[in-house]
């Protein structure tokens, strides 16, 4: 079965939720108790509560830790996979600087390419409609090259990557608004 993008996106929501749920379960128990300590229980009472909690944890801690680690690994894998669902990266006007929020996702792509040497990727650079067409072709290429370098530095091999610039010729969104321009200044990864 082919997993569609919305399904993968859903998987990401679920996996992120799972991580949040896991870590918060422990926190909530302690935090909740500590919170109620402050308002209703004296210091002694508080320590008793903590001791009891620790004691209860001793017998089951190995299992929980193992399960937690496995769940975390699963979640990380799911997260990396879901992250790789993001294949479009945006840029500011007349720049080719990779934004901080894109880095983690691009690292996930680079690791995936490293783990799958048979996988190739085409890196397509684009510009918004403002400015001249030929300069924008060069700007789209500069953006594609920046992403290519980033992927290679993070584990992909040069032979797996190919770049092409379409300049302003293939906008993702039609129109002449700030929002259309922002969505059109981009690099898209196309896995082949």
């Amino acid at each position: 079965m082919k997993i569609t993008a919305p399904q993968k996106a859903l998987a990401l929501v679920f996996s992120l939720g799972l991580i949040a749920g896991c870590s918060s379960t422990g926190d909530t128990t302690e935090g909740g108790m500590a919170g109620s300590d402050v308002s209703a229980v004296d210091q002694d009472g508080g320590s008793t509560v903590y001791g009891g909690d620790d004691e209860g944890g001793v017998s089951s801690s190995d299992m929980t830790e193992e399960q937690r680690r496995a769940a975390e690994e699963r979640a990380e894998r799911a997260e990396a996979e879901a992250m790789r669902d993001i294949t479009t990266f945006y840029f500011d006007f007349d720049t080719a600087e990779i934004k901080p929020e894109a880095r983690e996702v691009l690292v996930a792509h680079a690791r995936y390419l490293q783990a799958n040497p048979g996988q190739d990727v085409r890196i397509e650079g684009h510009a918004d409609e403002r400015g001249t067409k030929e300069y924008n072709l060069a700007l789209g290429e500069r953006r594609a090259n920046a992403v290519q370098r980033f992927l290679i530095v993070n584990g992909a091999s040069r032979g797996q990557t190919e770049t092409i610039s379409y300049g302003e010729e293939k906008p993702a969104v039609m129109g002449s608004s700030e929002s259309a321009w922002a969505q059109n200044r981009r690099v898209e990864l196309v896995f082949q």
């Binding site: 996106a9 007349d94 001249t132 067409k133 030929e134 290429e141 090259n145 379409y166 898209e188 196309v190």
Partner: protein, 441 residues
Amino acid sequence: MTNRTNAGTRVARAAVTWLLLLSVMIAGSPASAELLIRITEGADSAIPVAVVPFSESGAMPSGDRISSIVRDDLTMTGEFRPLQPEKMLSLPSKGDEVYFRDWRLLGQRYVLVGQLTRKGDRIEARYELFDVNREERVMGATASASVNNPRSLAHHISDRVYEAITGVPGAFSTKLAYITLERSGGESLYRLQVSDVDGKRARVRLESDEPILSPAWSPDAKKLAYVSFETGKPAIYIHELSSGNRTRVADFPGLNSAPAFSPDGRSLLMTLSKDGNAEIYKMDIQSRTLKRLTNHWSIDTEPAYDHTGEGFFFTSDRSGGPQIYHKASYDAEPRRITFGSRYNARPRPDNEGKYVYYVHQRDRAFHIARTDLRTEEETVLTRTESDESPSVAPNGRMLIYATKQSGNSVLTVIAADGGAAYSLPASKGDVREPAWSPIAR
């Protein structure tokens, strides 16, 4: 979340498009819809001229009247204000029928009269131009053309009249090359077209569902160089218009863009990124040998030969943003030309070395501006925004560029000093990247 979903769908679609075979159609395709001229503005100083309907003997082609085409030609320069024939007091067709008093009464400076005679499959025109104030004949000539070609005859007469009055050769017999783009659904249709300068007689020369960009004329106006993505990546082609024969001259890894012919027609300047990033090269067309002309980590692109043919203008962002530079020879140090704003690109010099025209960003708008190369003074020429792709007429008097009009890209012609304007809206989709041909020799 929204971005992710969209990105996924977009990539899937891109992959499908990639698999589709390209349809590239060459010359001989049916004429496309012609551009309509709309005169938006006239200069106050326009010269009043009476183009009297020419007399006709023998069968003439139906449709276009030669004298009306001449009248329209003169009007579109913005330099002339032709008199409507209905207002004329008499309709002379030769010199001894011209009564200067009548024309002075109508406030006319010049009167053009003429006779058309059918001779076999040709039309012959005898025409004379008179100066009303001086009461003298300025010029008289005959010209002929095939009966199928009345527009060429009319544009030729316009050229001669324009030159007789202004002292500068007319550019009415030249051509425009431009790209039209229609998008519907996810599909794009690019067409390279060539028309008369008034937008008439448009013919499709190349059609592709992948981008066609940057048409550039050879100095004899017989060939076009351009960029086409028809193989899936950009390559530079030279296209001979009469035969439709095409040669792919540059297909290197990376960018192959911005071709520009040398004034002797033997070489092409172009932007290639095969050696790392966008640099300017000269290609000898015969031998295909390359000479690298720029060497900088920045973007260097959009080259255009200067009038000497020894140096060239180009765009570089070596200062941080795109600016215009000039190299007086291939090996000279580049000299920066523009300083007026943070974005100046795509230089196009005139044929005399007086001005260089380019795209200029001011506030948030993109205009066309020019710099006087002697005084270094910069003038913004357009009031429209989102302006692109300036191209100067070979006589230096007019300028065509692309701009946005209710969401579509249209072509606009203005006087080279920023005066009168007319626009050529496409009936459908975008019209972009106009290139004004040289005067054919």
